[in-house]
């Protein structure tokens, strides 16, 4: 029996080896004299990765930070979902970040990170990312790697063709996937056609402080606006959006929105529209959307409800908006680094369709139109078509560029990444992915200057690629070396949530700017205690405010008496450390919230509502020093009727 098992195991291993050998040989043949894959992704202990990759979490609502080529996870930045680990959405300071016109929304679906640009080149100041479900755009500051601003997008649903920046980060753009009644109203769903609208939003970004402001919305016909990318170079004043469901179906879209041979890419001269707005164009309509801003000095966020939005009907700005016919239900909309080629990935087409910007401009001049849709000219397909990549694969989704004249497209159905040449449209190489890739990312690969060393492909399905973990298995990213003629698969690594898209940047462009701690002098939190002498406990009716400090390894005060059942106790805790990587945490038994994880120089607040008399301990949750286990304190809670006075102390002082 044993022998049989052994034999079986041996055979199994042999067959596995054989299979993997086969793959490796293929890789070697294609990669010529390339060294082995493990060496290429190995980052020795203490060494740094060459690139940051910001990978969206999809239904996790967050943004994960990885290093490339190692695939090591450094941080999950909470953006649209609460995060108990970092108290995001749990402490008093960050709750306003998740405020919306629907109230506090603790979750979203984060999709498309995009790094800010200057002159079409990554500048590493911010990452923008869209919340798909309750439409929002967030900004992450790359000095703190924290979400510092979130703006809700009105008149929008399924905020999917977002959040892409123009060449100088003049605007971050957000487009609606679902057409809806604008303004929202009670009407029969079946009357969708001709009555719903698709809003494309242009959010102005302040060049100095990055502050976001929804400047205008273009109310397009009620199609689905799926993906977007800005032009660059000559086409930098334009923005392109893939546009499907031109059938305007409101039910069984998988059939009913797949009828037309060609849908569109919408081309918008945003500069022209912005100029129209500057001259007072457009009209204001009532709206209700939240604008949430986090301040690094008060260490707290504020939420403001905005009540108006400027909307523009396409007919008001003639010559600014055109439809480019594109087969068939196009998904990805990607623009080559030169700005000349606009690639439409028709999900249901066998070919990839590429339009030429130069030809588009000529067609507009020549009025080479094939009619219009809701008054917007449809350009003649032949007049704008640059070429097609024939029979490239099944289910093309997204394309990025290496800056060497090559494009790389993912194919969802045939599970592969295909390298092809711009201009000749010939396929140069194809490699399998495991499995069903969505987006891919080359650092800077959607900018004027790609850093074409690696391509990161994000897969939707992993099936047998990792140890099984029950019915739900990890999603993954795969790293390819793209420096050679042929691509080489280097690494598989699991990801947090579902990775939709990613943005990559050379680490050298941001790591020196990374903040190490917050200066106490700059702390403007209203409840800060900047030294132990400033600590106190104040009662305001049933509210008790504790001004507390923490340093290795004690809280001040750490003995508090005079709290009563039914009080609402606010712990305002300041970390007095002024050194790198010395956070402290705090948690209170029974508090119906999360711990606080407080960075050096920062103040955070949590609320505790004691329900029983007793002596209740709190402690530091982040192992901070050799005396971390000593970092604790007690709060005495007395019955409501008690006459015990409020008092507080540290070491009886």
């Amino acid at each position: 029996m044993k022998t049989t098992i052994k034999l079986f195991t041996a055979l199994l291993i042999a067959s596995l080896l054989f299979t993997s050998c086969g793959n490796a040989n293929k890789g070697k043949k294609q990669g010529a004299l390339s060294s082995n894959a493990a060496e290429k992704v190995y980052i020795a202990p203490g060494e740094h990765d060459e690139f940051y990759a910001f990978v969206s979490g999809g239904f996790s609502g967050q943004l994960a930070v990885y290093g490339l080529p190692s695939g090591r996870l450094f941080k999950v930045i909470p953006v649209f979902s609460v995060d108990a680990e970092k108290a995001y959405g749990f402490n008093e300071e960050t709750k306003p970040m998740l405020n919306t016109s629907h109230g506090f929304v603790p979750w979203d679906d984060s999709h498309h990170p995009d790094i800010s640009q200057t002159n079409g080149v990554l500048d590493g100041r911010y990452v923008f990312i869209n919340g798909n479900n309750t439409p929002r755009i967030a900004k992450i500051d790359l000095t703190t790697f924290e979400t510092t601003e979130i703006i809700e997008i009105p008149n929008t649903a399924g905020n999917h063709s977002s959040s892409y920046v123009t060449e100088n980060t003049e605007y971050v753009v957000a487009g609606t996937r679902f057409a809806i009644p604008v303004p929202q109203r009670d009407m029969p769903i079946s009357e969708y056609k001709g009555n719903f609208k698709g809003a494309l939003s242009f959010i102005k970004v302040d060049p100095k402080d990055g502050g976001m402001d929804l400047e205008f919305q273009i109310l397009m016909p009620g199609f689905n606006y799926d993906k977007a990318h800005p032009g660059r170079g000559d086409s930098k004043d334009w923005f392109f959006f893939t546009t499907y469901n031109t059938e305007e179906a409101n039910t069984l879209l998988e059939v009913n929105a797949s009828q037309n041979d060609k849908d569109f890419i919408t081309a918008i001269n945003w500069k022209k529209v912005a100029d129209y707005v500057k001259k007072g164009g457009g009209k204001k309509m009532p709206a209700n959307y939240a604008h949430n801003v986090y301040d690094d000095h008060t260490h707290a966020a504020t939420s403001t409800m905005k009540k108006e939005v400027l909307v523009i009907d396409p007919s008001e700005v003639p010559g600014a908006i055109y439809f480019l016919p594109t087969p068939k239900s196009p998904h990805g909309c990607d623009v080559s680094p030169s700005g000349e080629y606009i690639v439409g990935s028709g999900k249901l087409s066998a070919d990839l369709t590429v339009h030429s910007y130069t030809k588009m401009i000529k067609a507009i001049e020549d009025k080479a139109f094939d009619g219009d849709a809701y008054g917007i000219p449809i350009l003649n397909f032949e007049a704008i078509h640059a070429g097609s990549v024939k029979q490239a694969g099944l289910g093309p989704l997204h394309t990025e560029f290496d800056g060497e004249g090559n494009a790389y497209t993912t194919f969802f159905i045939s599970s592969e990444v295909v390298k092809w040449k711009l201009g000749t449209w010939e396929v140069v190489d194809r490699k399998p992915t495991f499995y069903s890739p969505g987006h891919l990312m080359i650092p800077g690969g959607n900018s004027r200057k790609p850093f074409g060393k690696y391509a990161l492909v994000m897969n939707k399905i992993t099936k047998d690629r990792y140890l099984p973990t029950g019915p739900e298995v990890t999603q993954s990213a795969q790293l390819y070396d793209i420096t050679g003629e042929k691509m080489e698969l280097l690494l598989d690594f699991p990801t947090v949530g579902e990775p939709h898209y990613a943005a990559g940047i050379p680490a050298d462009l941001i790591k020196s700017k990374s903040k190490k701690f917050f200066r106490l002098e700059d702390n403007k939190h209203p409840y800060v205690a900047k030294s132990e002498e400033d600590t106190k406990v104040i009662r305001k009716g049933k509210e008790v405010h504790i001004y507390m400090t923490m340093i290795r390894s004690h809280f001040s005060p750490d003995n508090i008496e005079g709290v009563k059942v039914g009080d609402k106790v606010y712990f305002h805790v300041t970390n007095l450390e002024q050194d790198y990587d010395v956070p402290h945490g705090i948690s209170m038994i029974g508090a119906q919230t999360s711990e606080l994880l407080i960075m050096p120089g920062q103040t955070e607040t949590f609320v505790w509502e004691p329900k029983q008399p007793g002596v209740w301990p709190f402690y530091c949750t982040d192992f901070c020093s050799a005396l971390h286990q000593e970092m604790q304190g007690y709060v005495r809670v007395s019955p409501r009727s008690s006459k015990i006075k409020l008092s507080w102390s540290l070491d009886d002082e």
């Binding site: 106490l520 900047k530 106190k536 390894s553 007095l576 002024q578 010395v582 020093s625 050799a626 002082e653």
Partner: protein, 169 residues
């Protein structure tokens, strides 16, 4: 707050009467640490000899390790000392009290025990100091492994704190 001040005074009186030493009975583990420390204390350097003595450590020659190579102390600069006192309050007083041993040592009279360079290097470069400087290493053990925090004071700020220390009697 008044109550606290009175408490402080009472406590101070108590502390003085018991020699300002920690009033906690040392636990077994603390004893073990101390024993081990005595064994491990380096014996090569001249200054190390003094270190092994368990009484007050005095070494005015050791300048410590870090950016400060030489400090000249002139007449007391009261303005500088005042700004040093303010800095001490926010950045240092959580661990150092001027009336007693607390989390770390009492800085009162520090310049009778250490060179001004050593003091400044200990403030500016504590991580290296507790690793390599024999006195700093000994102090880390004496203070239960509680590390001297780097509060990222600039050279000028550190100098001001030193000036403040000169006023402590």
């Amino acid at each position: 707050m008044k109550g606290r001040n009175i408490l402080t005074l009472v406590l101070l009186a108590l502390l003085v009467s018991c020699g300002g030493e920690s009033k906690k009975t040392p636990s077994n583990s603390t004893k073990t640490v101390k024993k081990a420390a005595v064994k491990k204390a380096p014996t090569k350097k001249k200054s190390a000899k003094k270190v092994t003595e368990n009484k007050e450590l005095i070494d005015l020659d050791n300048k410590g390790l870090g950016p400060i190579k030489s400090v000249t102390l002139g007449a007391l600069d009261q303005t500088m000392a005042d700004s040093g006192q303010k800095l001490f309050k926010t950045k240092c007083s959580s661990c150092h009290r001027t009336n007693r041993k607390f989390i770390g040592p009492n800085p009162t009279g520090i310049l009778k025990r250490r060179s001004p360079e050593w003091v400044m290097n200990m403030i500016m470069n504590p991580a290296e100091m507790v690793k390599k400087d024999p006195i700093a290493r000994q102090l880390l053990i004496k203070f239960n492994g509680s590390p001297m925090a780097n509060q990222n004071l600039t050279k000028d700020e550190t100098r001001a704190v030193l000036e403040y220390f000169r006023t402590l009697k």
